[in-house]
């Protein structure tokens, strides 16, 4: 065996020499973390960017008032403490006196006020604005105290403030209009160079209030093909990588020296029905589809079983046992009966839209759904399309059914307010109005007692699954791959890479 290895190595070196490969597999450097991902950030304005890679890059540079830990508990960030008034209509933050921007200026209440006013200003075009509409006014009584006056009690707002879309920016940069072109954050790293869709260079911020990061910097390279990321990790060119495709991520543990971190995420795979279009207007038809779908089979076939069947709530603290929800055990006979009772004994024809490669499992999911629904007489035609075309159709609700991967939030209200309340901004996409759902959401928003909130949202989830406007399928894992000598990374359900600030390379 040893002889064979030596021989292989010799042949390898010969091939390398032949190809003129000068720098063969540089040894792991101790100081800089070499990271790879397949998709790059799309921009640098933390209030505007919503793409997953943008958030991951920006949360290493900027900081919100508070942030979530790996258990989704709210932790201090720029704010060292906070407090709701007894009536729930005032939220006060004390700012960490050590917090400093990367230009050397301290973070003050004036910066917080300017940042939230920027988010609330419609001219900015910040999508997070929708989460902060309860803010009536912001006071800055002294440099380290900031007070949010609310028009109504708003428990989920604090969770929304953990998002990097609510980052605190220097008031001076906001006034200068340089946000998005110049990055001045208060986070663990500063962005030294960014060449979009190619590479980014992050340097440790020695003045970071959270302490010195464990590495001197992070070099992020964009490898559009994930199998090339795996190859680069095999040859130790890359220390840490994000992966999307379960087909490739699951190969990581087979490589010696590499490990895969898996964390169940808040985003969910779902089959969206369009209840404004016949025959999905009929409760019986929607329920029949719910009963005809074998969620576990979709998960196993499309995603190699990488994930778990879920109801609408993916947040661990709020999720119910999926088996307690309507028709989570497949029942084809019941589905046929429901369909017949709704007047569609012979089934019907319909279409499902899906985006190519986004998520990578979309096409397979659509195919399994097509096969499963065929069993109750529903003929499904699959329409695959480029992501932007899909989003355009999705936003116009121009579909019968849609295979989707929708983002999750750490709070059920923030996660679903957009779809299932009467005033929800994406009500035009969900096309489903239900008094019970609306009132339960409003109750959950005002409620501050955790046990009572959980009960409210459990009732919400049960009712939503039973009304079946959408068929929730599963939530998958967020994958990061790393060399064995990378220590200290903690994955989180939000997919945050913030703990790279604690990572060391040994």
């Amino acid at each position: 065996m040893a002889i064979r290895t030596t021989k292989t190595r010799l042949t390898g070196m010969a091939v390398a020499a032949m190809l003129g490969i000068a720098a063969v597999a540089a040894p792991a450097q101790a100081e800089t973390l070499r990271m790879a991902w397949a998709q790059d950030a799309t921009g640098l304005d933390p209030h505007k960017q919503t793409a997953f890679p943008s958030l991951r890059l920006l949360e290493l540079v900027y900081e919100p008032l508070v942030r979530l830990d790996s258990k989704l508990q709210i932790m201090p960030a720029i704010a060292e403490s906070w407090e709701y008034s007894a009536d729930g209509k005032t939220l006060t933050f004390m700012i960490d006196a050590d917090a400093k921007f990367q230009n050397g200026a301290p973070v003050t209440s004036a910066d917080v006020k300017a940042s939230f006013e920027r988010i609330l200003n419609e001219e900015t075009g910040a999508v997070a604005r929708a989460n902060f509409l309860s803010i009536d006014g912001i006071d800055a009584p002294d440099a380290n105290t900031v007070v949010f006056n609310l028009s109504q009690p708003d428990a989920p707002m604090l969770t929304a403030m953990t998002d990097i879309n609510a980052a605190v920016l220097p008031a001076s940069e906001i006034a200068a209009g340089s946000v998005g072109t110049k990055t001045v954050g208060s986070g663990p790293f500063s962005l030294e160079k960014w060449d979009p869709n190619s590479k980014a260079t992050l340097v440790a911020n020695k003045d970071w209030a959270g302490g010195m990061p464990g590495v001197d910097g992070i070099d992020i390279s964009v490898f559009p093909d994930e199998s090339a990321i795996l190859a680069a990790m095999r040859t130790k060119q890359i220390d840490f990588a994000l992966m999307n495709d379960p087909l490739i991520a699951t190969l990581v543990p087979r490589e010696s020296g590499l490990q895969l971190n898996r964390e169940a995420v808040l985003s969910y795979h779902v089959l969206q029905l369009n209840p404004s279009r016949s025959p999905f207007t009929e409760l019986g038809v929607r329920q029949a589809i719910s009963c005809a779908i074998d969620r576990q089979q979709i998960l196993d076939t499309a995603s190699l079983g990488e994930g778990r069947v879920t109801g609408p709530l993916t947040i661990p603290a709020y999720a119910s046992d999926p088996n307690s929800l309507f028709c989570y055990t497949r029942d084809v006979e019941k589905a046929k009966k429901l369909l017949a009772d709704a007047g569609y004994a012979d089934g019907f024809s319909t279409t499902v839209i899906a985006a190519t490669g986004e998520p990578p499992t979309a096409a397979s999911e659509a195919q399994v759904i097509q096969a499963q629904l065929a069993e109750i007489g529903i003929t499904v035609e699959i329409e695959m399309m480029e992501l932007n075309v899909y989003i355009d159709r999705w936003l116009k609700a121009d579909f019968d059914m849609a295979v989707a991967l929708n983002g999750g939030r750490a709070d059920p209200f923030t996660m679903y307010n957009r779809y299932w309340t009467k005033a929800g901004n994406l009500q035009k996409v969900s096309n489903y109005i239900d008094d019970t759902l609306d009132s339960l959401m409003m109750k959950g928003r005002a409620e501050t007692d955790p046990a009572a909130r959980k009960e409210t949202f459990a009732a919400f989830e049960k009712h939503l699954a039973e009304m079946s406007p959408w068929i929730w399928l599963y939530n998958s894992y967020n994958y990061t791959a790393q060399q064995d000598n990378v220590k200290g990374f903690t994955p989180t359900p939000t997919g945050s890479l913030f703990s790279l600030s604690e990572v060391t390379v040994e």
Partner: protein, 319 residues
């Protein structure tokens, strides 16, 4: 000379046509810069927020006004600013172009160095087993998609031998020629392989035709050595279809080799234009396509001029 002037006069007209088609086509596709940036979250925007973002991306005016503005800037030497890069479009293109040019040149060198000798060899061994062997390899080469070849090369090197040139961080040839070459050779081989196969097939058939020509027989009867007949008398004439093929292939490669650039993580023009389309970075798409079109026209012109040099019988512009 007349021919050259005629061609040069049509340049701006063709470019104008290309720019108009691209300008309209990219706007006809559903989705815009806003949905590309925000995804489904774009649905959370209020109408006023949407207007503010549209103004930011410069898509708040009707398309013909946008086109007029773009054209006006173009005649002032300004291709606009990329919203993704926050920099002038031309700067971004010129930064990516050297890689694409180098990759195109290298893969053409690979293709010609392998393809022409292989074609000549096969032609001179017509219908012998070795000819059949070359033809089979050429057939396989032509029908293997380059993403398969690229991935197989990467897999064999990394999993089988534990080696791989540095990927992800691209080193330009001016910074460090050796590292640059180590990064470029695999993509060049991947791209050059299928190209070499085409060159082999076309130079073989051209060579076969020419070897039957009278002047070749004359050269032989005058006692020229077999080697001299093939390389000095026959080959130059057999090269004309190879030049045509290379010209087409080269101008195609100058548009960027999207798939190979994706696999080998090379920041070339192909990926630039693909990402620009996916992110609906209109100015960048328009600028890059215009730049590519210009290159294709220049290469085509050079190919025409090369005919005249290779074969004195061809007089450009004469009827």
């Amino acid at each position: 000379m007349n021919y050259l002037t005629g061609r040069l006069v049509t340049f701006p007209l063709v470019l104008l046509g290309v720019s108009l088609i691209v300008f309209i086509a990219i706007r006809l596709v559903p989705g815009d810069s806003i949905t590309a940036m925000l995804g489904t979250e774009a649905g959370l925007l209020t109408p006023k927020q949407r207007e503010a973002l549209a103004a930011y991306f410069g898509i708040d005016q009707p398309w013909f006004i946008q086109y007029w503005r773009w054209l006006y800037d173009l005649f002032h030497g300004d291709l606009g600013v990329s919203v993704t890069y926050g920099r002038p479009v031309l700067d971004v293109i010129l930064e990516r172009f050297p890689l694409t040019l180098e990759l195109a040149l290298l893969s053409m060198i690979v293709a010609l160095l392998v393809g022409v000798p292989a074609g000549v060899y096969a032609a001179t061994h017509n219908e012998q087993p070795s000819d059949l062997g070359v033809r089979i390899i050429a057939m396989v080469g032509q029908s293997t998609p380059n993403f398969v070849l690229g991935l197989v090369i990467i897999y064999i090197l990394s999993a089988g031998f534990g080696i791989l040139p540095v990927m992800g961080t691209f080193t330009s040839i001016w910074q460090d020629p050796l590292t640059n070459l180590s990064q470029m050779i695999l993509p060049a081989v991947t791209l050059g392989f299928a190209f070499a196969a085409s060159v082999t097939r076309i130079s073989r058939s051209a060579m076969l035709d020419i070897l039957k020509d009278d002047y070749v027989r004359t050269a032989r009867s005058k006692g020229a050595s077999s080697r001299a007949v093939i390389w000095r008398h026959a080959l130059p004439n057999a090269l004309i279809p190879v030049v045509t093929l290379s010209g087409i292939e080269f101008s195609y490669l100058l548009g960027g080799a999207v798939i190979v650039e994706q696999i080998f993580a090379l920041p070339g023009l192909g990926r630039l234009v693909l990402d620009a389309i996916l992110q609906r970075d209109y100015a960048l798409v328009q600028g890059t396509v215009l730049f590519i079109a210009f290159n294709v026209m220049v290469v085509n012109l050079l190919v025409d001029l090369a005919y005249a040099t290779l074969d004195p019988r061809i007089r450009l512009g004469e009827r």
